[in-house]
Amino acid sequence: MTLAQSEVPRILIADDEGPARQRLRDLLDEIRESFPMAIVDEARTGREALDVVNREKVDVVLLDIRMPEMDGMETARHLAGMAQPPAIIFTTAFDSYAIKAFEVNAIDYLLKPIRRERLLTALGKTRAAPPVSREALAAAANMPRRHLSVHERGKIHLVPLADILYLRAELKYVTVRTAEREYLVEESLTKLEEEFAEAFVRIHRNCLVARAAIAGFEKNAEESESGWAVVIRATHEKLPVSRRQQAVVKQFR
């Protein structure tokens, strides 16, 4: 690889459909003259796209919205948490919900079939425009994520939602507890509560517990103003229930 080549934008194509990826390759090859770039790799799911980003330097992701396993929306939200996130250009054939959400939140997208000129314009914009914010992506999403992402040493590590026992807010971060270990994520507990209302329940001002992780309740617990504590499955930790959230105890017993 020559020096000049290494400095051009590095593009990742993420789409689950072979012909759609081929089409993007054809178009990129055509505009290479006016927009020098390198195609880093192709990904068939959002998860594969994250793997590529963890492995190689990627500047732009052409990201299909509807993909199996992990859709484009969730993928973008994990990418956006990176210290230096790649620019994201969403692609979609038809998704009236997503398109409306993108318009409202000023997120760029391309409609399939994609035209060469539109692709060129979108790529051009990525050089100047700041990356899409996590907040805008969160606002545009209509489904809760299936993972939380932890960013450690420039790598994205996914924690499946089903593995999470509880989430506890501490100062600037939220501690994510799984049976094996703890992670720190930079999120707001209130936003997490809204997004995962189905799977988690608030037991304290600073704590959300996964409904599936509640093994039982203990009465006369120490350090608990309500006297109740939630016993966590797997770790057997006891988390205090605040007086305000005491109704939770009744709801589960």
Binding site: P19, A20, K112
Partner: protein, 315 residues
């Protein structure tokens, strides 16, 4: 509305003729009309304003509500009118109330019969409006896939466009009469050929339809929208894809069509409802209560079953 006015006035005229002494029926009619017309106008206005809640009440309840309302209104006008219109006190409220009830019921029955007479036309219009509509998602994705093929595999791209043309020809045709199962299957296969360009070996289909002759009649476009649903909700969201199974079997006087596909989500398949409701309504319009349709999610498999009368096309 105009019809209601005419019908009620004809009744008034008839009563006037019956009640009046010979040669005096014009004035009798006027006396009657002076009493009836304001009540009629007020009741029409109120009923018109209340048509939505009435509609929501259901058939029998709305009949009862309208009749009670008319009698109540008649009672009101009876008391107001007694003082104002000469000769009005010749009748008791029981008589007025009974007449009101009678006229209202006759008017309602007339409209009921009339709407029933017009029903086939309405049903036909509804069948046309309900004709399966293809998902825009499919259209744009297919065009995009063909564009992706044109340079590398021009022959396949040609085939795909031909299949699309055939598919859209059927979708846009007049689909009101029953169609042979064989044609439905051929159409579904063309649709699947287009989808497999995009999805490759993620899309697998098992056909188990040999037990039923090709000339068995089914409503048009009953299979393709269901398969489209299966692709959208069952195959596309799965990284490894899955198998769609289509089965046709005869069971006594019925033809039973069963379609299964893997379904990873929860019990609620939201996007499904439109297509399912559409097909269900078309089945009802074609066969009334003789057809039915069930769908369920069990152990990660979505299953939809359609039962229609077993019919063969006559040679």
């Amino acid at each position: 509305m105009l019809r209601a006015v005419v019908v009620v006035n004809l009744f008034v005229l008839a009563f006037a003729v019956l009640q009046a002494a010979p040669g005096d029926f014009a004035s009798e009619f006027l006396a009657f009309a002076a009493f009836t017309e304001p009540a009629l106008m007020v009741s029409l206005m109120i009923l018109c304003a209340a048509r939505r809640p009435l509609h929501a009440m259901g058939y029998v309840a709305s009949w009862v509500a309208v009749l009670l309302f008319e009698v109540a209104l008649a009672w009101l006008f009876f008391h107001i009118g007694r003082g104002l219109i000469p000769g009005a006190d010749r009748m008791t409220f029981a008589q007025v109330g009974f007449l009101t009830l009678f006229v209202s019921a006759c008017t309602l029955a007339y409209f009921d019969l009339r709407s029933r007479a017009l029903h086939p036309a309405i049903a036909e219009a509804r069948i046309q409006a309900l004709q399966a509509r293809i998902r825009p998602h499919f259209l744009y994705n297919s065009i995009n896939a063909v564009l992706g093929l044109i340079r590398s595999e021009p022959r396949r791209a040609e085939r795909a466009l031909e299949d699309m043309a055939d598919l859209f020809r059927v979708l846009m045709a007049d689909n009101r009469t029953l169609t042979p199962l064989g044609e439905e299957i051929a159409l579904a296969r063309q649709y699947l050929a287009i989808e497999s360009i995009r999805l490759g070996d993620r899309l697998r289909v098992a056909w188990r339809t040999e037990g039923v002759p090709d000339d068995t009649l089914v409503p048009p476009l009953v299979l393709q929208p269901l398969i489209e649903n299966a692709v959208y909700h069952g195959i596309e969201p799965a990284e490894a894809g899955g198998e769609i199974a289509v089965e046709a079997a005869r069971s006594g006087d019925s033809l039973v069509l069963t379609l299964t596909n893997p379904f990873a989500g929860t019990g609620k398949a939201d996007g499904n409802k439109m297509a399912i409701a559409n097909i269900r309504e078309r089945l009802q319009l074609h066969f009334d209560a003789e057809a039915d349709m069930k769908s369920e999610v069990k152990d990660g498999v979505y299953r939809v079953t359609i039962r229609v009368p077993y019919l063969r096309s006559r040679p």
